[in-house]
């Protein structure tokens, strides 16, 4: 079976979305996560995917350095059922500790120059306990100026080492904001392999891990979901049981 690759795109505008989707489709992606800010109006982008076989998924991105914690709680309460994926970009250790334990958050993102400071072993343990994913956007690495590449490489490598030791699920994507920043999934996997120091390219971080997260959350935000492991049975089944 062919792999289904997923990529994430930041700061989408309708003007460049068509070109981004065209390039993504040609590069071999089948699902695109579109990053949205909490204060921007949600637009229907489904018409853009008509020409391609791409699946578009809205994702809520909250930048904790711009929004106070109380406001983040409000946003999460309001938007959890509207977005299948919610990520928080953590900028200080207090937010990281809180975000790692909040069940409404799916993905934790760290600034690349602070990742090894914020993503510690204890945070990794919390992330495992509360089923959180760590996201690495590789465009921050390959598009950064040459003089900052070495420290960023080092920081990401250290964080990935901790994530691998503690078995934190890692999502790798481009995090591109325009079409020229996109890279093919195999190129991204190869770059991730250099960072992971693994023998095999981590293709699962670009395909199975994000798709599993999405399918898990789509069940969670469906109307039939009540609590973990408890679902509303279809009416037809109840009638059959009563007859019996």
């Amino acid at each position: 079976m062919q792999r289904k690759f997923v990529d994430y795109i930041t700061s989408v505008t309708p003007s460049n979305l068509r070109a981004i989707l065209e390039v993504s489709h040609l590069l071999g992606y089948s699902q695109i996560w579109l990053g949205r800010q909490w204060n921007t109006k949600t637009e229907d982008f489904s018409k853009f995917s008509d020409n391609h076989s791409l699946e578009l998924v809205n994702r809520l991105d909250i930048d904790a350095s711009k929004v106070p914690k109380e406001k983040i709680v409000q946003i999460l309460r309001r938007e959890r059922r509207n977005f299948p994926i919610i990520s928080v970009k953590c900028s200080d250790s207090e937010i990281v500790g809180w975000a790692a334990q909040d069940n409404r958050i799916d993905i934790l993102v760290f600034p690349p120059h602070q990742i090894s400071k914020l993503f510690t072993r204890s945070i990794a343990k919390l992330m495992i306990k509360f089923a959180k994913h760590l996201e690495i956007s590789l465009s921050e690495l390959y598009l950064s100026p040459e003089r900052t590449q070495i420290p960023v490489f080092r920081q990401i490598r250290q964080a990935l080492e901790i994530a691998q030791i503690k078995s934190v699920p890692i999502i790798v994507n481009s995090g591109a904001s325009n079409q020229s920043e996109l890279r093919s999934p195999y190129d991204l996997a190869s770059l991730a392999q250099v960072l992971f120091s693994k023998k095999e390219p981590p293709l699962n971080s670009l395909s199975t891990i994000p798709t599993h997260l999405l399918s898990r959350n789509q069940i969670k935000i469906s109307k039939d979901y009540l609590a973990p492991g408890i679902y509303l049975a279809p009416e037809r089944d109840i009638n059959i049981q009563e007859e019996e």
Binding site: V23, S180, S190, L191, Q193, V194
Partner: protein, 122 residues
């Protein structure tokens, strides 16, 4: 001595200007050396086996263990003669004959033109 196993990577250069054979080699070799140093580059054993200036495609030969190093280096190439460039790695094969076949494949060629149209605009 055990014979080295090699892989052939077909790449396409998408740029406003046409990329010459010399530039194609220089772009990738410089980036591999910048990222992995002289010792890393020596392990890669990068060699431009074939270049088609009309199709703007090249076939690079490398050691089978360092395919990922070359692919990782491709991610970092963003400009050529102060103009944006996009390098698309098309396919990886074990023989030069097959790599040439892929370079001439109509589907891949159409995809290259579609990418060029979207990225460069002509």
């Amino acid at each position: 001595m055990k014979k080295e196993r090699v892989r052939y990577l077909t790449v396409r250069f998408i740029c406003q200007e046409e990329v010459s054979e010399k530039d194609a080699w220089f772009l990738l070799a410089t980036e591999v050396k910048r990222l992995f140093g002289v010792t890393g580059a020596s392990k890669v054993g990068l060699y431009l086996s074939h270049f088609d200036p009309q199709k703007q495609g090249g076939i690079f030969r490398m050691s089978h263990q360092s395919v990922n190093l070359v692919r990782a280096s491709i991610c970092f190439i963003t400009s050529h003669h102060s103009q944006p460039i996009f390098i698309h790695s098309e396919c990886l094969t074990g023989s030069l004959k097959k790599a040439k076949k892929y370079l001439c494949n109509v589907n891949y060629h159409d995809r290259y033109h579609a990418l060029k149209k979207t990225l460069v605009g002509n």
